[in-house]
Symmetry: C2
Subunit: 474 residues, 2 copies
């Protein structure tokens, strides 16, 4: 007896080298796993279930993987775009006084946003993760978490752009301890839904000694390292000033480039650096939306994919993306890369769908557990309604339009049902585990407090968006 | 006594040089016009209304303008992307047998898609517009329509790529007559909601004689000419082979570059050509999503805007975009242009919002009627719910995050109410004028017929997507 049987579906399994579609398909769930997948007629002959979900004119596919998100700063959504140096000239005045409670209030709504748009796994990379993880527990999401480790002083907003940052080992040790505490408390908890990574913020923000300690711990706990690498000219400038070399050469020399590394952004990596990282077995996480907005850049994913398929997509951060929606990321990844290559044939729909599912799962070290619909894998599934006007009509032959429309036409709102670890988290677009409206109202209130606190610093630092406010552009 | 009073809103008027926000604002509607706009407290002292709409934590703004859409081919959504030469190698086998009734069925759902995402004005440019216009009448949209005029033979799919097209004046005359008939039947009808333009398909698809006849008629009816210009190397090759010169030089020589011309795409226009067109007073319509997908290109809007603000955005066509959603177009326009310029400061949120509203209205010749919230203008308004997780939190001070989140975080699903010409067309996300579900089901059925009819041609022409189907990528 199955717990749940989804039938009459177009099943996009993501098995095989492409998308592995089964028409008139069914997926059976038992406990937290996929028990069976195949044709509806055959499965219904052999199985019965406690609960049936009719997916006529709907698509069932693996839940999407957001391989890089900072949910703790989403309370600052929409405050740092259309400017240069978004972090120091936009974010810092608002960020510096943020309390753990405020971060958590924002994170809750941010995770809800992701789930509603079909994200089931979040590589949440932020501080204070000991607080934020409670949201993943409450909502029921799969999370691969780390507490962001850096040695930066609290007054970063006051350091002139271009000056070398002071690194403070006391701060670094304290933050490392928080990441270790996170691992001890949460690794493999909640039926395995929560797993922990190490989270150094970037090679420029952590000393060599601390980086090596982190690497030692990743081996000890047999887990991954989630890190920004070659993220913008700011980082490269710091690395050259501090070590006389660029990020990826430095990381190679200290033994960081291997299968444990999930390298995020690579905006400033050359083709050679990117391909060295790929050859060493590290994975690359591409954040098309945020990097497009805050840097006006298209990172070297095309070059990475020439060497390796250990690649994933991430939605990064709400202050400068400004949304955390993997449909948005898939679409931007395809179109930005087509425009970069001046070739509509590159980054086809099936390829970016793989980045957000099966290839992404492998890139974050969960390839055996999630990312495709296969017997024995965890039941992380989404059901998408193709009766929405923007996904109509459905055409199955002689050309099937399902996957192109998933990538180019869907915006995430078509996701109707979300199942994570065998449990229905969302049904008919309504979240079952938390009160969405209450969470949003609480966020509005908390954000007002955060914004009021920043007033003086925003004026003192003359941040560029203040001038735009005065001139009527915001 | 007002008909409708929307109060407690954040009103994004789009008046002035930026976005013209009024906090705690209200908008009063009487008949089909905006009677009053201002502060809620002041307006409620002076006016009462038959119907009140409380817009607490909601944004009221002008309805969006889709300045270039082919609603008649949306039944072919998702059939022509990720390939080169999308039209001949993707679209034609499906397009060639399309009946007027099938076009209309697809168009109905396509317009619904647009309205649900906040589009109130559609420059619908397709054939047979005499059929399609009935959808705009039924749904209640503002439409600026033309019947697409060309002199192309019906067997275009059989002409080798690169061969000069034969132009057939009998076909051209027949299509011109349809456009004239459209004008006679529909121009300024439905309380002025429907207006007609002339619609030559491109300088390469219509002879010089017919182009001049069309220009004469545009003067006679005092209306605009909606035309693809410099759309891809295909057009430029045809122009050079036929006339020995490129499109824009040719159009300048025959007197086409003036305020009546709405020039669409300009993908192949040089900076000099684009700026010549801008200087002559013609407007430019940019279709970021479709051109990104089908051509891998970012058209020269930045260059155009150096000279003129007569610019608008369009969603083009569903077979290769694959959606028709102006929030999608705004976001892509901003990010693609930032990446093209390698500069996050260009194409800020306020600028693209103007392209989709007030600047767009001027570009399509309706600047006095729509595009901003101003007393005396037509009441084409949308109300957007900012309690959606992806638009939360609302921050109003010291930096307002409303406009950046409208452009970068919204996906269109947050539009709750749509008012066109003073009439509520959509309420709480539900369309009031047509049965959405019925329309979608009818579209699925019609599309199956269309697809079945194309099977033999798809095989015969060995279109690239067929190979992708066989290999499991679709």
């Amino acid at each position: 007896m199955l717990d749940i049987l989804i039938h009459n579906a177009t099943v996009v399994t993501m098995e095989g080298k492409g998308v592995g579609i089964i028409e008139d398909g069914a997926v059976g769930i038992k406990n937290n796993k996929i028990e069976v997948v195949g044709l509806t007629t055959e499965i219904k002959k052999k199985y019965s279930a406690h609960q049936y979900i009719d997916a006529t004119r709907k698509v069932v596919m693996p839940g999407l993987i957001d391989a890089h998100i900072h949910t703790g700063i989403s309370i600052l959504r929409g405050l740092s775009q259309d400017i240069g140096n978004w972090m120091q000239k936009g974010l810092w005045p608002f960020y510096k006084g943020l309390t753990p409670q405020e971060s958590r209030i924002g994170s809750l709504v941010n995770i809800i946003e992701g789930v509603k748009a079909g994200t089931t796994t979040f590589c949440d990379y932020d501080h204070p993760m000991g607080e934020l993880v409670k949201n993943h527990v409450e909502i029921g999401t799969r999370a691969r978490i780390s507490d962001m480790i850096n040695e930066l002083p609290p007054n970063m907003a006051d350091i002139a752009v271009g000056d070398i940052y002071p690194l403070d080992s006391a701060i670094g040790n304290e933050k490392l301890m928080e990441n270790i505490k996170l691992i001890n408390e949460w690794h493999l908890k909640e039926n395995g839904r929560i797993t922990c990574l190490l989270g150094p913020q970037g090679p420029d923000m952590v000393s060599k000694e601390l980086l090596l300690e982190i690497k030692y711990l990743a081996e000890k706990y047999d887990t991954n390292i989630h890190m920004h690498v070659a993220q913008g000219d700011r980082e490269i400038n710091q690395m050259i000033k501090r070590y006389g070399k660029r990020s990826i050469q430095y990381l190679d020399e200290i033994g960081y480039l291997d299968h444990r590394l999930m390298a995020v952004h690579l905006t400033e990596a050359t083709k050679e650096e990117t391909q060295l990282l790929a050859k060493r077995g590290a994975s690359m996480i591409l954040c098309s939306g945020s990097i497009g907005i805050i840097d006006g850049m298209v990172p070297p994913m095309a070059e990475f994919l020439e060497v390796s398929s250990r690649a994933a997509l991430g939605s990064d951060q709400a202050p400068g993306n400004n949304c955390n929606n993997m449909f948005n990321e898939m679409k931007f990844t395809a179109i930005l890369n087509k425009c970069k290559a001046k070739n509509p044939e590159v980054f086809p729909a099936w390829k970016v769908l793989r980045l957000a599912t099966i290839d992404g799962a492998k890139a974050i070290g969960l390839g055996d557990e999630i990312g495709s619909i296969k017997e024995g894998k965890k039941a992380d599934l989404i059901i998408i309604n193709f009766d929405k006007p923007n996904l109509s009509p459905i055409i199955l032959s002689p050309i099937r339009n399902i996957v192109p429309n998933l990538v180019y036409a869907a915006n995430g709102n078509e996701v109707e049902t979300v199942i994570i670890d065998g449990k229905i988290i969302m049904e008919e677009g309504k979240l079952l585990t938390v009160d969405e409206n209450k969470a949003v109202l609480e966020l509005h209130k908390a954000a007002e407090r955060v914004a009021n606190r920043a007033v003086e610093d925003v004026k003192r630092l003359e941040i560029p968006l203040l001038q735009m406010m005065k001139e009527g552009y915001l």
